[in-house]
C-alpha cells in the first residue's frame, strides 16, 4: 500500500507530460499519437478513482476512436497539401499562458475547497438497485434512474451523424464516405484483421453483457464493436456503406427509437414514462441496451468516415 502514493504521483506527472507533448508537438501526427497515449494513461487514473466503467469508455472512445478520427482526417488534409497557418507572436503566447494559468489555478482552488461532507446520491442509488435487477450501479444510473439523459445522448449522436453528412456537396448525397485506409491492403493489417476481429466481436458482446453486473455496458461494448468494424474498413476488406442504405439508416435510429418506445410502454404498463414494471426491469433494460450497442457500433464508424464522397448510385 505504501507504494501507491508514489505511483499516483508518477502517473500524474506522466499524464501532464504527455498532455503537454500533444500541445507542444510540431507535427499533427505525433501530437495525435501523444493524445492516444494520454487517453490510455488517463484510463489508469480513472481506475485509481474507482471508476472502471469510465476508464473503459475513456480508453475506447476518448483515446481510441478520437485518435482514429484525428489520424484519418489529418491524413486527408495532408494529402491536399500542408496548411500555411501562422503561429501567434510571443506577447500573444504570454497572454494565453497567463490566462491558462489563471483558469487552472481557479479550478485547483475549487478542487481543494470542495464542500465537506461531500454531497452524494450513492445511498439513493443503493436503495433502488435491487428493484432494477442490476448489479452495476453505473449501468443502473444510465439506463434506469437517468434514462432520459441517455436517450437524449443517443439523439445527440444521431444529430452529429446528420450534421457530418450534411456538409457534403449535394451531388454526393446518398453516396458512400471516402475509404478510410490506404489504397493497397497491407499483409500485416490483413493478418491483424483475421486474428483480432472475431475475438474483438466476442469481447465487445461480452463487455455489453456483463455490464449489467460488472464494469462494462452498452457504450463500452458498442465502442469495441465499432473499433472492429473500423479496422476492417482500414484494411480495405470492406468500404464504408452508402449513407442512403436502408439497413444503415435503420441501425442508426434503432437506439434512439427503441428508447422512447420503451418509455411509452412504461407509461402503459407501470403508469409512468420510463417506469419499468416490477420484476421485468432487467430484461427491458437489456433489450434497450442491445439496440443501443447496435446504434453505437454503427454511429461511431460513420462519424469517423465523414461525409459522403462517392456517387449515390449503388
Amino acid at each position: 500500500m505504501s507504494l501507491l502514493p508514489v505511483f499516483d504521483l508518477g502517473l500524474a506527472v506522466l499524464v501532464l507530460a504527455v498532455a503537454g507533448w500533444t500541445i507542444a508537438a510540431r507535427e499533427l501526427f505525433s501530437s495525435v499519437v501523444g493524445y492516444v497515449a494520454y487517453g490510455l494513461l488517463l484510463a489508469i487514473v480513472w481506475v485509481r478513482l474507482y471508476a472502471p466503467d469510465v476508464a473503459l469508455t475513456e480508453a475506447a472512445i476518448g483515446s481510441g476512436v478520437t485518435g482514429v478520427l484525428l489520424v484519418t482526417s489529418g491524413a486527408r488534409l495532408r494529402r491536399a497539401g500542408e496548411g500555411e497557418a501562422v503561429a501567434p507572436g510571443l506577447s500573444q503566447r504570454a497572454l494565453a499562458a497567463s490566462l491558462a494559468v489563471l483558469v487552472a489555478a481557479a479550478l485547483a482552488a475549487v478542487v481543494l475547497l470542495l464542500p465537506e461532507p461531500p454531497p452524494t446520491l450513492a445511498p439513493e442509488a443503493r436503495e433502488r438497485l435491487a428493484a432494477t435487477g442490476l448489479g452495476n450501479p453505473v449501468t443502473a444510473v444510465l439506463i434506469a434512474y437517468r434514462s432520459f439523459d441517455t436517450m437524449l445522448e443517443k439523439v445527440v449522436l444521431l444529430l452529429a451523424v446528420v450534421g457530418v453528412w450534411s456538409v457534403a456537396p449535394d451531388r454526393f448525397w446518398g453516396g458512400a464516405p471516402a475509404p478510410l485506409g490506404r489504397a493497397r491492403p497491407q499483409g500485416a493489417l490483413l493478418f491483424l484483421d483475421q486474428a483480432l476481429v472475431p475475438l474483438g466481436i466476442l469481447v465487445g458482446i461480452h463487455i455489453f453483457w456483463v455490464g449489467a453486473d460488472e464494469p462494462g455496458g452498452a457504450f463500452q461494448g458498442g465502442a469495441i464493436l465499432a473499433a472492429m468494424w473500423m479496422i476492417v474498413m482500414i484494411a480495405r476488406l470492406t468500404g464504408p456503406p452508402r449513407i442512403g442504405a436502408r439497413w444503415l439508416r435503420l441501425a442508426l435510429i434503432a437506439g434512439p427509437a427503441v428508447f422512447p418506445a420503451a418509455g411509452i410502454a412504461g407509461l402503459g404498463m407501470a403508469g409512468n414514462f420510463f417506469a419499468y414494471p416490477a420484476g421485468f426491469a432487467k430484461p427491458i433494460i437489456l433489450f434497450i441496451e442491445a439496440f443501443m450497442v447496435l446504434t453505437i457500433a454503427v454511429t461511431l464508424p460513420m462519424l469517423v468516415a465523414g461525409p459522403p464522397r462517392g456517387s449515390p448510385e449503388p
Binding site: L77, A100, A105, F219
Partner: protein, 114 residues
C-alpha cells in the same frame, strides 16, 4: 494528499494546458485536440466529485460517473462534427486555417481538390 485530490489538480492543470493549446495552436485540428484536453480535465474534476461521494458501500457516487460516460461520448460526437466542418472548409477555400485574412487569399496551386 489523497489520490482523488491529486487527480483533481491534474484535471485543473489539463484544463489550463488545453486552453493554452486552443488559443495558441493555429491549426484547427490541433485546436480540436486541445479542446478534448479541456474536456478530459473537466471530466476528471467531476470524477473526483464522484470519488468523494463514496458512501452506502460504494467506493464512488455512480451518478457523476454515469454523466461522465455520457459526456465522453458527446465530446466525441462534437469532435467528429468539428472535423467534418474543417475538411469541408478546406475543400471550399483550400485553406486549413481559421484565420479570416488567410482564407480570403487565393488558394495555393494544387490545394483545391474538387
Amino acid at each position: 494528499m489523497s489520490a482523488a485530490t491529486l487527480a483533481g489538480l491534474v484535471g485543473a492543470a489539463l484544463v489550463g494546458l488545453g486552453l493554452y493549446g486552443l488559443i495558441v495552436n493555429p491549426q484547427p485540428l490541433r485546436k480540436i485536440l486541445a479542446f478534448n484536453l479541456i474536456g478530459s480535465g473537466v471530466f476528471l474534476i467531476f470524477g473526483i466529485v464522484a470519488r468523494r461521494g463514496a458512501s452506502a458501500g460504494f467506493p464512488f457516487d455512480p451518478v457523476p460517473q454515469a454523466m461522465v460516460i455520457t459526456g465522453i461520448v458527446v465530446a466525441f460526437a462534437a469532435s467528429a462534427l468539428g472535423v467534418a466542418l474543417i475538411l469541408r472548409l478546406h475543400e471550399e477555400t483550400g485553406a486549413i486555417t481559421l484565420d479570416l485574412d488567410a482564407s480570403t487569399r487565393p488558394p495555393g496551386e494544387g490545394a483545391r481538390d474538387t
